[in-house]
Amino acid sequence: MDSRPQSTISNPSTGFVGLFSSVKVGLVLLGLLIIYSAVGSAGIPVSYALWEPTTWVKIREHPWLEMTEMEWFQWWPFVTLIALTCLVMAVTTIRRIPLNWINAGVWMVHVGLITLAVACVVYFSSKVEGDVPVARAQIHIEVPGGAPVTMLAMPGNATKVHTDEGDWSFRVTSIDPEWELLSGDDKGERAHAVTVSVQPPAGHEHQMFMRQLLDGYPQYTEDIIRSSNAHQPMARAKKTLGRPLVDDTLKMSLQPAVADRFYLQAEPAIYVREVTGGNIGPWIQRPVHDLPRFSDRVRDPERVWVDEGARFAAPIDITVKPVDDQDPLKGVDLRITDYLRHARLKVGDVPVEDGPIAPAATLKVQIGDGAPSTYELFAMEPEGNTAPADIFGFEWIDDEAALRTAPELRIEVPAHEVDVIVPVHGLADASPAVEFQEVEGTPFSWRVRFIDDQLKIADQIRPLAQIELTDGEMTWKRWAFEDPSLNGDLAAEPDAGGHDRLIPADPRIVTTYRPATGSIVPFVLVAGPDENQLRLISRMSINADVLDVEIGETIEIAGGAKFTVTRHAPRTRRETRPQITPWAQRDPRTMDRASMMRVETPGAPPAWLSMHQYAFDSPEQAIPGMGYAPTTIRMHDGRVMQLLYSRQSKPIGGEITLDGFRIKSHVGGFTGTVSSVLNWISELRFDGGDVVEVSVNDPQPYAGLWFFQSQWDPPDPRGTRTGGIPSAGRNYTVLGVGNRWGVWTMLFGAVLSTIGMIWAFYVKPVLRRRQMERVTTQLETGA
């Protein structure tokens, strides 16, 4: 590494060579590499508070760049800097460092680094990286008269089989990954046990039962049925019926679930398939290029629900072309017009000037110093209300007479020409102190026992009041409805089955039930009859209060509850749009898993697609918690298509099955928490071969790829991912997949450069010392 005088530049080629044999140029390049790497990795600080995450602005995530770390370090400026640095090293070494023992270290360092750089080019340019979920098992079901079906053995997974007799329903109710066999030759062994509830069609000779399947032990398959023993409501069919299976003709078995494709990291795709009749075609993927990675791109803000002041980067227009001959939309290009990094679909309302009355309001509620809650209320579609239905209601009245703060009864006694409307202020079932009230001028008295304003009869809501009537001699109960022709009295004697028996209502007294506005929930917002008029009924006391409401003004009632209606629109239209998550609420660990894209398909309405980690074929083949919600679009020509936004997938080159999933734990065993885990071990079979174990730090090769232990299925006692069914976990594994071309060359380069440094720093001084000693000796001896 001697610094020698540079030769005089005599022509351009000499100047070029001179430039690239300059140490100073090399130093400048190294400096640029440092700056480039720091900016791409940590970002640029925008505040002195370096310890705050928000201080670090990542340039590569800017809408102009939209790069992952990998992409930033494969971008041409970085590649150019590395190439130039290698060039400088090569030229300088050859031109200015004589190859001898003294300089062998420098040569090794530079050759090693150049080798490493070249190997990195090979490695990163050929790098394929992704992951594949592999389920523990699938359930194969054959019902006589029905087509065979399979579904993954996952808690909560369900399917149906159609037969002429009706539908058979199957649902996985529990899975025990370590079920201990308590009898038989295999006593003491443990097996993966899957219990499926089987609901035969109505009218079938058998009622609902459970079937337990044990992986590896089909001979122990048995059913569990309802028993008449109150202490043990479910019992083994073997003990109750004398045979293990309720229905021999129903074939169910556990089979390996096969995975044959893996999904590439950060390589989006749209999957397309056609639905014809009851048949659903296979997913055909279309790679998506240049999709934004970090910024929200919205062409028209009216398409999304978004907070005020939100800004969007330049809109996109990405054409997604078919690449597969099997594509059902061959010849049709899809267009991605919008991209949202973090959003979810939400139903909301938009005001319309000339539309029908459909009031919508936003209500903010705060109890004391507690956290305020904001609710969206819809008078005409209460199912869309976000407020608890048993506390808040929203009603529209087109007549002032319809404003009833309390339920009412209209009582007619024709014989005495009495026709009165009386309010109901107490319910006898809730408060036995409620007394009978006389109907003046008649011998009748009444009291209301209970009210059910949501009673459903023949799919219709029929508000009901059960009234107790007395004529002074006898007392009886009556079901009273809004339409008195539906009323009926309860007979004094029950029917043969011991149930209440309805008989025609006593015509001497006619009762009509008039439910309170907004039913009897504590708080009801009432719009109308003027379309801008808004009132609040508060039923916190016996006598309900009716309070006028002004938008933005807070109403405080007894008990410290504060209500503020922040928005009211009398005429609205319901719409489903993506709700964009504010930046501060986005967890970076979510990455692109909450992203959405808007896709325009010629001949079909546009659709918003949510990101899916994997393109599962059906809900039965989906892993719980990983999402399965393809978007169905109807083409103008009548065809029905499904679209799904996911990642590109590639064939593995064979089939992988999961034979078992073990957890090696610390002392005391696995407690359900990661801290007790020593290792996760996937027992795999590649193409049905011998079991191969893949665990953390111990990958296995297959078909030119390496498979790594990546994710696992942790216990979920509350069933948050499995529809409320508790899960013991271990129902699937996720393997990292990747190739590693050039790794050994990279290692060679790194080792060579390390040896070179040792030589340059420690061997070279020894050689020089000996050299100097020889010179000194020669001088002294005069040789």
Binding site: S3, I34, S41, S665, V667, G669, P699, V743
Partner: protein, 570 residues
């Protein structure tokens, strides 16, 4: 002036070591001085099964209450006493400053919410709030006040800045509940076949299952004694309980010696107070360097060796109780790294005591260890003493190779920055004094190792020659360290790549930690090459040694704590 400055520094550091004490937990009513009369020493050898490992009672109390009171002493009581009191008299702690809120801005938000609340709690006096701002400790009533709960709920929406601090507060409130803490006392070993693979039971579970067992009787007696404030009864119960627990299943019970060692380790606070001795060593060594007092050098050596012996004891004691080499979390990485620095100078210094380099490396190592131990002592939130199991990914032989090589290189980088800093200070002083500087005599011509062994024409190495300027000495020392650090850093990176290749599926992922380690190497590559071109080689060397150290520290602190990555565990 130098001497006064050093005394001032020492006084400041000592003052820093003492924080303001929180309110004390009230004593049980029956007797005065109940806590003082307690003798919990029989629990020193007792094990608690927690998070998949055995901890001594002292250690378990530390790690559990760490979730509640962070680095503070709950109620000014030792952790093991506080834990039992929280378990047995939870009501006594209602108004005690118990829950630690780490970030000052978060404390400010809480104080603001309480001040603005319509029904401000009576105990939330201005004085109490001020105290909370200073110590970070708040009573449960503060944090569960509706106004504060509302504010925390709102802040939690800000995922990047507040989600974690709010979660920490919520965890603190949950963990400090008596029933939760009772479940944490999993002290009864299982019995029968496969006992080592089964979870331990809590004392309450044992009481319910076997009410007449020795353990249950002792536990009942302990509870009764504690609640009635009868210290004698408690001491007697503990004396019975400890052996009774071991007797349940002595085969799987961890050794008493290990448990006692763990208790001792925590009681000594990991010996992080040793930084004070390192500070004294630094003062003595600086006196040697500035004034050339030989006595100061030997005093420095002596103090350094005492501090290093204590640190060595702490490292190996931790290794014994943890059952592994301590290099898997931030505390271990930092303290073990500096211990490597000590080992390095202990090995090399005997060859240098009669040379111009005498004391220089020791000064660097002492500075490095002092900062690390002081940080661990004063900032136990980020440099947590507690011992936990390793993450599954860390169970690999490369943890020992890659991590130790890297942290050794880091300590060498720090040592190089010390000699670099001394060099720059010296040059600054020369400039202030207006001295002429002969640049050719301000750098070591033979590089690092060459500085040690390559003789000059007269046959004497620059290391020993009296004609060697102090600038050359410092530059040579920097180069010795930089050369070794560069090799180890580069080799460590390559080793990390080998590990990552079979662990994460790719040898290099441009993870921030990888990138900044590479940045440090690039800086040293510049340092080595700039000596070929720059006129003022010594100045550039010293400056770049400092820049390289800054990059390393940035990597260790900012990247670890602020910019998430795959290496978040160390």
């Amino acid at each position: 002036m130098m001497r006064q400055l050093m005394i001032l520094v020492a006084l400041c550091m000592t003052a820093l070591a003492h924080g303001q004490e929180p309110l004390q937990a009230p004593q049980p009513e029956a007797t005065g001085g109940f806590f003082d009369q307690l003798d919990l020493s029989p629990f020193d050898g007792t094990a608690v099964w927690q998070e998949g490992r055995f901890k001594s009672f002292e250690s378990a109390a530390n790690s559990t209450l760490n979730y509640v009171s962070g680095p503070r002493s709950p109620g000014r009581l030792p952790h093991r006493v506080a834990l039992l009191d929280l378990v047995l008299r939870p009501a006594a702690w209602t108004d005690v400053d118990l829950h630690f809120v780490k970030k000052k801005p978060m404390r400010g938000h809480i104080v603001q919410a309480l001040r603005g609340a319509s029904n401000r709690p009576a105990i939330a006096t201005d004085e109490r709030l001020q105290r909370f701002m200073e110590t970070g400790l708040a009573p449960r009533a503060f944090l569960e006040h509706p106004a504060v709960a509302t504010m925390l709920s709102d802040l939690q929406q800000d995922v990047l800045r507040y989600a974690t601090p709010v979660e920490q507060i919520q965890t603190s409130l949950i963990v400090a509940k008596g029933d939760v803490l009772r479940r944490e006392l999993a002290m009864v070993p299982p019995i029968g076949e496969g006992a080592s693979e089964r979870p331990w039971r809590s004392l309450d579970a044992e009481l319910e299952a076997n009410p007449d067992s020795d353990v249950s009787k002792a536990w009942k007696s302990l509870q009764a004694g504690w609640r009635s404030g009868d210290a004698q009864m408690v001491n007697a119960a503990i004396a019975k309980l400890a052996p009774a627990l071991r007797a349940v299943n002595g085969d799987i019970y961890p050794s008493e010696g290990r448990m006692k060692s763990e208790s001792l380790y925590f009681r000594l606070g990991g010996l992080t107070r040793g930084w004070i001795i390192y500070l004294a060593a630094i003062i003595a060594l600086l006196m040697w360097i500035v004034y050339g007092w030989r006595g100061a050098l030997w005093t420095g050596y002596g103090l350094f060796l005492i501090a290093f012996a204590l640190q060595t004891f702490a490292v190996f004691l931790r290794m014994y109780v943890a059952g592994r080499w301590p290099n898997t979390n931030m505390f271990e990485a930092v303290t073990t790294s500096t211990w490597f620095g000590g080992v390095f100078v202990v090995l090399i210094e005997p060859w240098l005591t009669r040379t111009r380099l005498a004391g220089l490396f020791v000064l660097g190592a002492a500075g490095c260890s002092m900062i690390a131990l002081m940080a661990a002592h004063l900032d136990p939130v980020n440099l947590n003493l507690n011992i936990s199991n390793r993450m599954p990914v860390l169970h690999d032989v490369w943890l020992y190779i890659h991590t130790n090589v890297i942290i050794f290189s880091y300590v060498l980088i720090f040592l190089a920055s010390v000699t670099g800093l001394l060099y720059l200070v010296r040059r600054g002083a020369q400039r202030i004094k207006g001295q002429d500087i002969d640049l050719s005599r301000e750098w070591a011509r033979a590089g690092g190792a060459g500085f040690l062994i390559v003789p000059r024409v007269k046959g004497e190495t620059a290391l020993r020659a009296q004609s060697t300027t102090f600038g050359q000495v410092l530059d040579g020392a920097t180069m010795i360290l930089v050369e070794l650090a560069a090799i180890l850093l580069w080799a460590g990176l390559a080793m990390g790549a080998i590990w990552a290749d079979h662990s994460w599926g790719r040898p290099w992922g441009w993870d921030p930690k990888e990138v900044f380690a590479l940045e440090s190497f690039f800086i040293f590559a510049i340092l080595i090459h700039i000596r070929l071109t720059a006129k003022d080689k010594g100045w550039w060397t010293a400056l770049l040694a400092l820049v390289g150290c800054a990059a390393m520290i940035f990597n260790w602190i900012i990247i670890n704590f602020t910019i998430s990555g795959l290496h978040s565990y160390a």
